[in-house]
């Protein structure tokens, strides 16, 4: 496997702020890679280090083995889908898509034809003559995608690509982006703060916290076997059990994580833990019930078809063997 993008001990500091701090990672060609983290965790800065709008304070960013420090953004084999799409308001949709070819000097007929092909690929055939202002949010997003892809980049960068779309559209676009990536075979690197998006689209996820990568792995790895409390909590809000509580629950005396949906109600004699119900939140498909176990709070997700125990009820909790995951680090 070729490495498309490599971070070699890369730091980017803004004064005293360590936006990216000693990040090393190799992103393989042809994959769908997610940079996941809360805002301010350094993921967007990493993306801008690849596109060339930021320069590393220390370390090297290599794109297909080549040091990129002295390559300006307009000469890198990468294209970006910007968070706000950044479409050119004075150009038609077709000219927006053809822009990259135009500045490279492709003749008018060829670039217009290429733009139309690309618009067809993102299912916007017939929209070429419109202005961006006449399109919906989802359509603009597709134009931004077509505008980047028409240049045949070796790496496509997506900065929170679905952030501005409503839920329904977001789910549809997740599917589409994934199948588009498979069909084209281009490396997709996308930045998101939405763990659901990262887990459902990417085949590898890097979790960022405070300028550093805290865990890299497949979505299953990240979700089921978080290394740290931060990952457990951020990726799908797992219960984090202190060493003491983990020991009481029958695990090793170490920080552990337990998925809310892995926990089921049990008779007190068959329970691994017992606690008192303190509140319930109805979320449609599930009820999220908070349970006080001694001084700790646990969250359990009960399917909505199941009866919810009343507040103050004493309940027993159980889970399948192996659901209690012992974390490697704190």
């Amino acid at each position: 496997m070729t490495v498309a993008v490599e971070f070699d001990h890369v730091s980017r500091h803004f004064g005293a702020v360590r936006a990216v701090d000693d990040v090393s990672i190799a992103i393989e060609e042809g994959g769908f890679f997610a940079m996941l983290g809360p805002s301010g965790s350094g993921k967007t800065t990493c993306l801008r280090l690849i596109s060339g709008f930021e320069r590393p304070t220390a370390g090297h960013v290599r794109i297909f083995g080549e040091n990129s420090e002295n390559v300006p953004p307009n000469r890198r084999p990468v294209n970006t889908v910007f968070q706000d799409y950044a479409l050119f308001p004075h150009l038609s949709v077709r000219d927006n898509v053809a822009y990259g070819l135009m500045v490279k000097g492709t003749d008018r007929r060829r670039r217009q034809a290429a733009a139309e092909d690309m618009l067809a690929l993102v299912k916007l055939d017939g929209y070429g003559a419109r202005k961006p202002a006449e399109l919906s949010g989802g359509q603009r997003q597709r134009v931004a995608l077509a505008r980047a892809l028409v240049n045949k980049p070796r790496v496509l960068l997506l900065d929170e690509p679905l952030g501005a779309l409503d839920l329904k559209l977001r789910e549809a676009m997740q599917e589409e982006l994934k199948s588009l990536q498979r069909a084209l075979g281009i490396t997709f690197i996308f930045v998101t703060h939405d763990q659901g998006e990262a887990l459902s689209m990417a085949d590898r996820v890097a979790v960022f916290s405070q300028g550093a990568i805290v865990q890299v792995g497949s979505p299953q790895d990240i979700y089921e076997r978080p290394h740290t409390r931060f990952v457990a909590d951020f990726v799908g809000s797992a219960n984090v059990l202190s060493p003491e509580l983990a020991a009481r629950a029958g695990g090793p005396r170490h920080w552990s994580s337990l998925r809310p949906e892995a926990i089921a109600l049990a008779k007190p004699e068959a329970a691994r833990l017992t606690g008192t119900v303190t509140g319930t939140r109805y979320l449609g498909a599930v009820n999220r019930v908070t349970v006080a176990v001694g001084g700790d709070m646990l969250t359990i997700a009960l399917p909505a078809v199941q009866t919810v125990p009343a507040d103050g009820a004493e309940i027993g909790l159980t889970w399948p063997d192996g659901a209690l995951h012992t974390m490697e680090a704190e």
């Binding site: 596109s51 307009n74 000469r75 910007f82 822009y99 990259g100 500045v103 202005k131 505008r147 980047a148």
Partner: protein, 268 residues
């Protein structure tokens, strides 16, 4: 509760206000047609079109008009270049003293013209620069830059930074980005700013008085005519021309920027 019809008192007040503002201008227009050229007699004893012909044949009018057009054109060009560059720097870059620069650029229009005039005059004297068309242009450029700058800076703010990055990301170099993205997006703002600058320069009196040598711009010529009149209505004819020449660009600038701000840079 709002009714669509204004109360009668308010209507009268509005008309009185408008009359107060515009009646003197109407008087100027009417006197351009009077048959009596010594005193401004009211009502005019008769109406005639002869003064238009007389004005047409006066070489001093043509000279003054020519100078005014030249000065306004060159000042506007200077203002377009310097004002745009200044606006680009202030809105695109972060540097020490940015706010101060912004304030200093706007200052000349807030400063009384007489101060600007005196300052320029003593500066020119100090630099041993003789008064000519160029010194008038320099004087006018000080306030022309402001209107261009103000228009351009507002438009630059709307030109999002990510658009320029997108252009670079798609392979455009700095010049291509400027030509294909920046210029089309600020063009109407520059046109509007340029028209306002032209109009401002065209009817400027105070700064011109201090920076002109023997030459007379059209407004200066009119002032002189009032002091020692010969063929008085000629001044009124010229006044009409000045009103039209300055009013049309301002009206055009108003319509250009109005459309632009509503669509948030959406239209050319």
């Amino acid at each position: 509760m709002h009714s669509d019809r204004a109360p009668l008192g308010l209507k009268i007040a509005a008309f009185a206000g408008l009359a107060f503002l515009h009646a003197p201008i109407v008087l100027i227009f009417i006197y351009a047609f009077t048959t009596e050229d010594r005193t401004y007699q009211w009502p005019p004893p008769g109406l005639t079109l002869q003064w238009f012909g007389v004005t047409w044949n006066r070489p001093d009018v043509w000279q003054a008009l020519g100078l005014s057009v030249r000065v306004a054109t060159v000042s506007t060009l200077v203002a377009l270049i310097l004002g745009t560059l200044c606006a680009a720097a202030v809105s695109r870059a972060r540097f020490f003293g940015r706010e101060a620069v912004s304030l200093l650029v706007i200052l000349p229009i807030a400063l009384p013209g007489i101060i600007t005039g005196i300052a320029l005059r003593s500066a020119f004297n100090l630099g041993d620069i003789s008064f000519s068309t160029i010194t008038i242009v320099l004087g006018h450029a000080t306030f022309c830059i402001v209107v261009v700058y103000n228009n351009a800076v507002a438009r630059f703010r709307r030109l999002s930074g990510s658009m320029l990055e997108a252009s670079a990301d798609l392979g455009a170099d700095g010049f291509q980005t400027f030509r294909h993205i920046v210029v089309p997006n600020i063009a109407t703002a520059l046109l509007a700013g340029g028209m306002l600058a032209f109009a401002l320069s065209f009817d400027e009196v105070i700064v011109t008085t201090f920076t002109a040598g023997q030459q007379q711009t059209l407004p200066i010529w009119m002032l002189e005519e009032l002091v020692r009149p010969r063929q008085r209505p000629v001044t009124n004819v010229v006044a009409m021309v000045v009103v039209i020449v300055t009013f049309l660009p301002i009206l055009a600038a108003y319509y250009l920027t109005r459309g632009g701000s509503e669509t948030a840079g959406g239209d050319k």
